[in-house]
């Protein structure tokens, strides 16, 4: 499967490549965010088994994430219309849908990159700078895993648990966000290194109500290499 980078980063800039839709081009010219698209998974649906089943990966990517993308694009179109009409209350009304669907797109795009098949190095603990930082902030790698699992298990309802890097304070922390709120809602200087989706759709078909089993197993396919790269980029 071709690895395509987040289309949103490209489409949000004013310089649109060829094939831009008329609406998108017009919106971009006005400076309003344009459409996003569903990024490809960097691995097959079944590649993360047995930690996460292929059935879940397929549904999660093709249905849930795709729905967030579609609804986000729809909300952006409506936002564009409301902005150009000067309808402030419509603009405000749309914020919920934008936060939810846009957040869903942002979060899941990171999530696919956070995971890696075992055969390609998934689950290998972090080395280098990130490894040392984890030992410094949490005592040990095991302590971090335990903390994230505890926070994930304790989260009521739907949400995400994150390993966050505060790029100003240069500190690591474990954060949770409700529903599809992206990590930045916890603090503008937060950069997500790893996120774990603890919505029930992320594990229910395989683990049923036993969320702790899902949390224990997801570490086997965690892509610490990606987290390490993000960490080093911030500290570059």
């Amino acid at each position: 499967m071709a690895l395509r980078t987040l289309a949103s980063k490209k489409t949000l800039s004013l310089a649109l490549g060829g094939g831009a839709r008329p609406l998108a081009a017009a919106a971009a010219a006005r400076g309003v965010a344009t459409t996003v698209s569903l990024p490809d998974l960097p691995y097959d649906f079944g590649a993360l088994e047995p930690a996460i089943s292929g059935e879940i990966m397929r549904l999660h990517h093709q249905k849930h994430h795709a729905t967030y993308v579609a609804n986000y694009n729809k909300a952006l179109e409506q936002l564009d219309a409301a902005v150009s009409k000067g309808d402030a209350s419509a603009v405000v009304q749309l914020q919920g849908a934008i936060k939810f669907n846009g957040g869903g797109h942002v979060n899941h795009s990171i999530f696919w990159k956070n995971l890696k098949p075992i055969s390609e190095g998934g689950g290998e603990p972090p080395h280098g700078k990130l490894g040392w930082a984890i030992d410094e902030h949490f005592g040990s790698f095991e302590a971090l895993v335990k903390k994230m699992n505890a926070e994930g298990a304790a989260l009521q309802g739907s949400g995400w648990v994150w390993l966050a890097l505060d790029k100003e304070a240069k500190k690591l922390s474990v954060e949770t966000t409700p529903n599809q709120d992206p990590l930045v809602t916890k603090g503008a200087s937060f950069v997500p290194l790893l996120g774990i989706d603890v919505w029930e759709h992320a594990y229910y078909l395989q683990y049923k109500n036993v969320k702790p089993d899902y949390l224990n197993n997801i570490w086997k396919v965690m892509n610490w290499k990606y987290a390490g790269e993000v960490y080093e980029n911030v500290h570059a």
Binding site: L59, K63, H64, T67, G96, A97, F100, Q156, G157, S158, P178, N179, Q180, W199, E200, H201, Y204, L205, K208, N209
Partner: protein, 258 residues
Amino acid sequence: MAASASALHLLPSSPAGFQPQQRRLRSNVRRQGGLTRRFSKVVSYYGLTTPPYKLDALEPYMSRRTVELHWGKHHQDYVDGLNKQLATSPLYGHTLEELIKEAYNNGNPLPEYNNAAQVWNHHFFWESMQPEGGGSPEGGVLQQIEKDFGSFTNFREEFIRSASQLLGSGWVWLVLKRTEKKLAVVHTRNAISPLAFGDIPIISLDLWEHAYYLDYKDDRRSYVTNFIDHLVSWHTVTLRMMRAESFVNLGEPTIPVA
């Protein structure tokens, strides 16, 4: 209550164990009005109520597997979790509805809130459904719905729309609003119930993903329409409305002109 509360945060309780503890003895004496309890700290537990139908009775709209897991695991876990919390909590001893109001703490929920509310919500949910349910109500309930929504079809669409507007985990309710004296459709997040706002719930629909994922995967809309068309128990609704009328005056009395 505060003095006895501090005495409670000692050792975890062991219901089957014999643990004579002087300090706890005193707090329990105060609580039970003089009766001594030497061995177990928590005297009564909340229990898991049983749905009023067999596990497979709601098929094909809600599978046996779903009811088994949802009731047998999720609902049971909330009950067990609540009892465990109450072993060392000052909130011990309330009725479940009182506990929910106390623990809601006016919007700043205490740790017991989620478990207590979910125990109540799920009990209410099982009773909101019946095998061969759905269709439309009759008599007084239908009249009230037509009065407050315009028509039954409007109510049905409003219910489905509210479900689609709920983002994340939560519940959709038909409530009787106490102050407005009207039926309304509302949705709430996570474990919140209209009890927190003082309204009277009449129907509930669980929209946490565990309620429908095995049967419908991501197709939430089909789950909601099947619930309203085939599962909702209008008999239960009638009973609940009758009870609600003891608390809310729905009609204007006709005063005869002398």
